[in-house]
Symmetry: C2
Subunit: 538 residues, 2 copies
């Protein structure tokens, strides 16, 4: 309104627009600027709160830098190393990483690269010194070209890329520095010596800091992250099945909230996207020494394998979630008949997943009763419920004689159906339930139309084609649920294998209670966005 008035008062409308728009724009920017410090502060605070180890790591880097700069700042030390002390500072900045494994990986890669490059550079230097000045320059240039191209090409080989990429870069760097310097400086050997010592000092400080003072182990992170995945999956399954059988009103409010806050999606998202995170952590873990009390080798491959199995388990949950979002839906009245066994089944699966997660978290074998009788029972009940409703699987648009047949079946079956309902303490009486159900069955085809929230383009495929048997989507849902139970078995196998390799302690029923308290503290740790950086420079 303000804008409009100003425009009307002005003489030249088009010219007036520009400053007004600018003013508005400035206001928006001003608003943003006002909010910016607050937002920044909140972000900074949250980063530290999410994982306090980050604050400790930052302090560790600060301390290491101060320590290493003493080489330069203190006179007696400076006399020993001279200006080469700068390489120690450089090494600390580049090598000191968040986890011990990453630091070791980088440190050893750097050491190896430097050593190899040094040797090769001296070999070339040895050949070059025997020739004249001009020829020497050409020889060095050619060597640089050849080694540079070869080393770069090597970095494309998957094995080297995965394990020694940083080492090759450092090799190339050091080789170039030494070879080029050797052309101008006479006593290259002395420089190389001093440089090697200072780099060693830098690496030593880094290792001391990352291995001995509040160490963060990649293996530990991988372990906790794996345990946390199970909880996410358990939550997803429960939420998914509950939502499938929830009332329509509830679902609509959920649809309004964004996808990001969806508990189902949040639960499995971390698992699906965990591949590169898992592999990076496992790679760093492979560099870590055996630090646990028992000095067992960290079974990183098994964690990666378990991660793969969990990801495959997750894909089934995504498909299950897809059943909720699909355009063709089984009417709620029909679904309601299977509500109880499905919800019990999902509850049992979630319980088993949580138990598996706990068993990993506390490094113990999982309970022998992990596949409880309740799970078995729920599966059995679901089976019975499906078998008792054959008529559902007759399409909604069948001709009359089939429908009559279906009614005959339903009459024969209604007794059994209702006795189940009563046993599940349904509030409805037998007769009303039967009538209700029948009317729903007859009105089925129109219900389907209402549920079909077809988007415009989909209508190309013609709506009629999508009027499959009403129960088909539910059959898919049930089948996926059973598939989840079957895959749970694979997951249990891998967890047991992990327990065997990692020498988890035996399951003890008494442990259950006094460990529960620790969960909250440990739970908050392994988050995927604290991925140890692989992209830092030298």
């Amino acid at each position: 309104m303000v804008v409009e008035m100003e425009v009307n008062n002005g003489e030249n409308t088009t010219n007036n627009w520009v400053p007004i728009m600018k003013k508005l724009h400035m206001n928006v920017i001003g608003e943003k600027m006002k909010k910016f410090p607050k937002l920044t502060c909140r972000t900074i605070w949250r980063v530290g709160k999410e994982d306090p180890r980050r604050v400790i790591h930052s302090l560790k880097v600060g301390i290491s830098l101060t320590l290493v700069s003493l080489l330069y700042l203190m006179d007696p030390l400076f006399k020993g190393f001279g200006s080469n002390a700068i390489w120690a500072v450089m090494t600390v900045v580049v090598v000191l990483e968040f986890t011990a494994g990453a630091t070791l990986c980088k440190g050893l890669n750097r050491g190896l690269g430097t050593l190899l490059a040094g040797s090769l550079a001296f070999l070339i230097e040895y050949v070059a010194t025997k020739t004249g000045h001009v020829f020497r320059a050409i020889f060095i240039g050619a060597a640089l070209f050849f080694i540079g191209a070869t080393a770069t090409y090597m970095r494309f080989i998957p094995y080297i890329k995965k394990n020694y990429d940083y080492g090759v870069v450092i090799f190339l760097l050091t080789f170039n520095l030494i070879t080029v310097s050797s052309y101008r400086v006479d006593n290259v050997l002395k420089i190389a010596h001093e440089r090697f010592y200072t780099i060693s000092i830098g690496c030593g400080i880094c290792l001391l800091m990352s291995l001995l003072i509040f160490p963060n182990w990649s293996g530990e992170d991988l372990h906790n992250f794996t345990a946390a995945k199970f909880e996410g999956l358990a939550k997803s399954i429960e939420a998914c099945v509950n939502e499938y059988f929830s009332d329509e009103e509830q679902q609509k409010t959920k649809e309004n909230s964004s996808d990001l806050e969806d508990p189902i999606y949040n639960g499995y998202k971390t698992v699906l996207d965990s591949k590169s995170f898992d592999e990076t952590l496992a790679l760093y873990a492979s560099w870590e020494p055996r630090h646990s009390r028992h000095c067992y080798r960290f079974p990183r491959q098994q964690y990666v394998k378990l991660g793969n199995v969990l990801r495959h388990f997750g894909y089934t949950i995504v498909a299950l979630h897809g059943c909720l979002q699909t355009e063709i839906q089984t009417p709620r009245s029909v679904r309601a008949m299977f509500k109880d066994p499905c919800i019990r089944l999902s509850g049992e699966v979630a319980k088993a997943l949580k138990e598996l997660g706990d068993s990993i978290r506390y490094r113990r074998h999982c309970s022998p009763e992990i596949l409880s009788d309740h799970l078995h029972e729920a599966l059995h009940d679901l089976n019975k419920a499906i078998k008792s409703q054959p008529k559902l699987f007759i399409g909604s648009k069948n001709n009359t004689n089939k429908l009559t047949l279906a009614t005959v079946v339903s009459k024969g079956q209604s007794g059994a159906l209702n006795s189940r309902r009563v046993s599940l303490s349904s509030v409805k009486t037998d007769t009303s339930a039967l009538l209700d159900w029948k009317s729903k069955l007859r009105g089925g085809s129109s219900t389907t139309h209402e549920n079909l929230k077809l988007r415009p383009t989909l209508s190309k495929i013609a709506i009629t084609s999508l009027e499959f048997s009403e129960a088909l989507p539910f059959a898919a849902f049930a089948s996926l649920l059973v598939e989840i139970v079957a895959r749970l078995d694979l997951v249990i196998d891998e967890v047991e294998e992990l327990g065997r390799i990692a020498h988890f302690k035996e399951y003890n029923d008494d442990d259950e209670h006094h460990v529960v308290v620790e969960i909250d503290e440990k739970n908050s740790r392994p988050l995927p966005n604290q991925l140890p950086t692989r992209d830092s420079g030298d």
Copy 2:
């Protein structure tokens, strides 16, 4: 046998074992050593063959290094820059990356980091010079600690980590180098100047090499990679549905071959694991200048979004693939009844996916008839086929009166069934097919038992529970297939959106033929293991 005889001839059996075992072990190692050079050569050859741009990039790095080393090797140039020329070499080694975007990202990060660090270092230098010698050392130490800790902490903030991680490392590095050197060297300003010039020269050579000489664009890679994904998915769906309806013998031979060679798995694997690859490429693409003929902004966000949608599409294929691997299977005789519409449906979906992939590859809008009438027809036929077989959905272990009912239904239906079979040009006569089908139906529960390759632990859940209605797994399969068609629509939407944003050219029917030839050449390019390295150092 040789080992055993030698053991028997020897006097001290246990002592003899060690050298024999060593010998055997040596033989194995010897074998491996012999194979090693051959394997290495093959790997090196394959890396270059997979993507010839890698060879070009390696040569580019070699040339750049030689060029930059001229600063040091040629006398007139060396007099200008002095030993600081080494920084140019360093910059080239670190900044020159495979794609233009990655080089720009690193180069600009490096430049920005160096500039910021230089300014801050001079500020601190300015304060420090006014104090005494000892206090100055303490002041510098404190500054190092504070800046080091702060910068490290900043790297944990997701936004900075994603975009400026390398810049922060370079900032920290340069700041430390300048601050520490300033304590010993008087004319820091001159050093900083020279260093800045040489780094600029290094960056200049890198940019020249990566932007002007055979440039590799991240955006281009992302584009081709996205197009290739569609083909993978299309192959997966076709292979999956074909395998589901294939004969049992064929399937068994397939089970023997490893999972890695599975065409279904290979097709969707790349799509599922593409998240981090897509995002890295998109990040680098965001740094690239508008290089295409029309200078349109590269719609990287849309590519990432399309990648997400494709990944979700892929999850449904994984679930479909799961139907092939699950323990509970619909008998092949039953499946065969739905073979024709399912295979046609999958063929149409695959065709649509290929068309979408091609439309992206050649930057044109996709054909308006992408959802062909054939697809519609196949969907319709599948619907009809399912509706005509209501009896299938009656469980295999029903009590007798239900079974009789089922038989009644089947008798009533057999006419319709057989007429369908004939229309599908089945070789069996009506009667034999009916008998065959009936015997299968009656022997259903035993067939299911044979198919149930239950692993020991699963037996806890009790086999009986898993004897769901035989048709349930097929219902899931069909439902997932329909779901795939529904999701195809979402994919088409995103592709159309991409075409709109990226100003693809209009669809022209004549284009179809003369572009086909190009496919093979271009097809081999975008492979996920040529991910531009984010973990190289300085």
